[in-house]
Symmetry: C2
Subunit: 248 residues, 2 copies
């Protein structure tokens, strides 16, 4: 009775709304729909696809969640095609962490893995504007620290700017996404917050200076030390640095 195995393949037969999502995605992939384009109104689309508004809205809602559509109400509202914002990736990593399918320490390590090479690229590609932005971020941080308004967003900002200096948007999105998922990690407090913040700023400055000096090795060591202290990785950072690691 199992002699015909592998001859037939399962019929698609999913949801109708999935089929609609597929068609719209295909239109995007083919270039028929581009960023900024506006889809017809829900009522029109429902008629075009020959489905009810409910089914059509299911499809739109799915694509909105994926960040592919920006849906606005009111006159001249509608569904507008857009490139998914990096927050979509960031939120997904966050959910993975929360559901324990991903360990925050793994994310910290992956981030260091990426940032070490971000450092290499930044050393080669940082423009005067990039360096200006990095210095600025540190100054702002110091000012905030003095006023007592410093929070971790200043650190995230610095790391994103460093990634930007590498001139690779994929790496920039990575740092942002990992940063979001990582910020809710359970990093044990090794020292009082203000001391930790000051230390963090000092380390950022050390990284920036190494970039300015175009010294790739110094950037790598500075990054490794920074991660060794501000994450749970500890001496595991050595795994990424060859044997050249030192906690100074």
């Amino acid at each position: 009775m199992t002699t015909v195995e592998g001859i037939f393949s399962p019929v698609s037969g999913g949801r109708i709304s999935s089929e609609i999502v597929g068609q719209i995605e295909a239109a995007i992939a083919s270039g028929s729909l581009q960023q900024g384009d506006r889809l017809p109104s829900e009522r029109e689309l429902a008629e075009i696809f020959g489905v009810s508004r409910i089914t059509l809205r299911d499809a739109l809602r799915t694509m909105e969640a994926l960040g592919l559509l920006d849906i606005r109400v009111g006159a001249s509202g509608g569904a507008f095609v857009q490139a998914p914002p990096s927050e979509v990736v960031e939120k997904t990593f966050g959910h993975m962490v929360r559901l324990a399918s991903l360990d925050p320490d793994e994310i910290a390590e992956a981030r260091l893995a990426a940032e070490l090479n971000i450092g290499n690229l930044a050393v080669k590609r940082a423009t005067p504007e990039d360096i200006e932005a990095l210095s600025n971020a540190i100054d702002m941080g110091r000012k905030a620290l003095a006023e007592g308004s410093y929070d971790t967003s200043y650190s995230r900002e610095f790391h994103v700017l460093l990634a930007r200096a590498a001139h690779n948007r994929a790496l920039e999105i990575l740092v942002q996404s990992f940063g979001g998922a990582f910020s809710m990690a359970a990093v044990r407090a090794r020292e009082p917050a203000d001391v930790a913040h000051r230390r963090s700023l000092d380390e950022h400055e050390r990284i920036a200076k190494a970039v300015i000096a175009r010294d790739a090795e110094a950037v790598g060591r500075a990054l490794a030390d920074h991660f060794a202290r501000s994450t749970n990785l500890g001496s595991r950072v050595e795994d990424l640095l060859g044997s050249a690691y030192s906690e100074d």
Copy 2:
């Protein structure tokens, strides 16, 4: 007339379904809802939240798109909480590329940036099982090549296995996600497919052997050469390798 600026903040007032998504996500974040848990049926949830089924389904559809819920029909069906599969990230990068908000070459470079350090980790952490799996993948590839059934999925498999040997799931997800977005990149064909495939397999073998020899530098060079040939990066791989690069 602008004397009260900064006193008021815009009211939230979004969709009701967004509010529901927020509540369910909060339940997941707090641990009240865990992987595998089943939510009440749509009708029950609608009553619990005091909304219509339509509104409630909007919320579920959104969370399904994010990969947080697995919705099944039929008796004993329903909405089950799950950790988002890595395909969610992969698809998002794909959409970014298709909508031109991300350049395939940038993804290739980011992948190399990640894989260079994956190589470092693999050298330190690869188990006999990991090495066995890598060798196996190469053998399978050679067999497929001989039979003419080789395709790029063999290459992706190898790179994922290499990431697995680094024992960091975040990096593994990265390689998978970048691989998906990258596979649709416009890589110019520099040589006939079968020649390229054979070369690719040879390079994979060189990488694997360097891992087996626990030679981190050799792994790095092998990876850089591999990317230099199989992507559009060309000599740009040098930016990631310091000055130690050589196209052998």
